[in-house]
Symmetry: C2
Subunit: 286 residues, 2 copies
């Protein structure tokens, strides 16, 4: 296999995108923070079915981490990522430097208002401003026809979709399903922070979602009862602190009191020092 | 002369831009709020010297007007604008509807932080958020290679330039010089609000800038003394209230105490009920 071309500057990324577009190629884009796992790879493969050229970006965006969060220890392994991208069918890696993305005097921010109020937006102030801003910047650098995001970060996907539509980005956002470990834990680069005991306890995120889904299947409509059953299950493990458990409308992300149509059950917990999120979409697919 | 093509939807604007770009044409863009005057027309002619195809947008952007401002009475005359654009050499008019630009659920904003703190940003909260947002949206709709703005709105030009650079917009911002009436009043669509007496008094904006420039030419370096002389001159007219008089750094827009290198002298006043701005750049051109 010949090595994956790696582009390090915004200018070269843009001229490469221009040249692909002039040659009539469609560009599929998978933005990542690196340390790739099967979840990312499934998005690359999905992009490959929808576009001629698949560009993966690796950029650990400092502005989506809070001051108390794990920016410094966020795992990085560029060489491994490069190999995995190539195997998954990526055609090009965009790996910009932080100094080029946020030069001195940088001062522009993209905010999405309503969708960022609840869920992770409530516990991570500034997080989605960082996400929306970096995605706008990456879209303008890579000039994709489609951009693929994982449903694991459900709120993020909705925020980016809204941002792209609101600002007139001429691209389509495509969502890929959550990929899970064999015991049901949603894949995440942050899973590697877990020690053996925490790793075992972390199964309860997916288990609580399955419990909720089963209750809804059996006709339960009261969001409060479903959330309280999930809470009881999670509280039966030590070392887990609940950040939120919510049942929300799939488009507006507004909390629902009654589960009648499609909804998303979403939760965030801390397992030891590691923040994990998961969700399940009930009813129609996005 | 054949009539000017008018595009009313974002989708058609984007596909037209794509098709121009595929054919190797460069796109010059002049965004306006309509009710064009010689200032706008000079920007269209400037764009025409720098790009193959010149697209003018006309959109009275509601989100850059404050609640007490003149959105409703802002002058509009599409047919006249269309003729003037054609005569000035525009190739295409983009005239989107407000409902398409800001559909229901719209909730995304672009903010530029530092450059918007002083000058007009201080007296018009939210104004530059509206400007930066609509320009990002228009750039994404029109896909220009260059976009031309007037130096009359100096702070606006700097804010948009910063926004475009920060977000990786692949385009060049070009500034056109202020165009003045024969008595020196800077052209503005808002001049038409002035009655005969106000119109006469409004000359003092340009006169005060000339006074300041003369003082600097004669070696005055103290910003406070220059501003105070401008203030005295303006206060000698009735019906004029000063909003601000500032001498700022041309790039950072930070107020200067001492005038040594290049600077911009900027002021905003109310003549009767009409807010007018003007500025003069001293030293190197942008």
């Amino acid at each position: 296999m010949k090595p994956l071309p790696v582009i390090r500057t915004i200018e070269r990324m843009q001229s490469t995108a221009d040249s692909l577009r002039r040659r009539g190629k469609t560009i599929g884009f998978v933005p990542t923070m690196g340390f790739l796992h099967e979840g990312h790879l499934s998005l690359i493969r999905l992009a490959k079915t929808r576009a001629d050229t698949v560009i993966v970006s690796i950029f650990v965006n400092p502005f989506q981490f809070g001051p108390e969060e794990d920016l410094e220890r966020y795992p990085r392994d560029f060489e491994r990522d490069e190999k995995l991208c190539l195997q998954a069918g990526a055609d090009l890696l965009f790996f910009p430097e932080a100094g080029a993305m946020y030069p001195e005097q940088y001062q522009t921010w993209v905010t999405v208002e309503n969708l960022t109020q609840g869920l992770c937006g409530a516990s991570r102030p500034g997080h989605f401003r960082g996400v929306a801003t970096v995605c706008a910047k990456l879209f303008l650098a890579v000039k994709p026809h489609i951009a693929v995001f994982g449903e694991k970060d459900y709120q993020q996907a909705r925020v980016i979709e809204r941002m792209a539509r609101d600002l007139n980005f001429d691209l389509k956002i495509v969502l890929g399903p959550i990929v899970r470990e064999s015991d049901g834990l949603a894949m995440s680069s942050r899973n590697r922070y877990l020690d053996a005991e925490e790793r075992k306890q972390a199964r309860v995120l997916n288990e609580s979602l399955s419990l909720a889904e089963a209750m809804i299947d059996q006709g339960e409509k009261e969001a409060a009862r479903i959330k309280s059953a999930m809470e009881d299950l999670i509280r039966s493990r030590d070392r887990i602190r609940i950040d939120y458990i919510e049942i929300v409308h799939p488009e507006t992300l507004n909390p629902l009191n009654t589960v009648e149509g499609p909804c998303v059950i979403a939760l965030a917990v801390k397992v030891g020092g590691t923040r994990l999120i998961d969700n399940r979409r009930i009813g129609k697919k996005p």
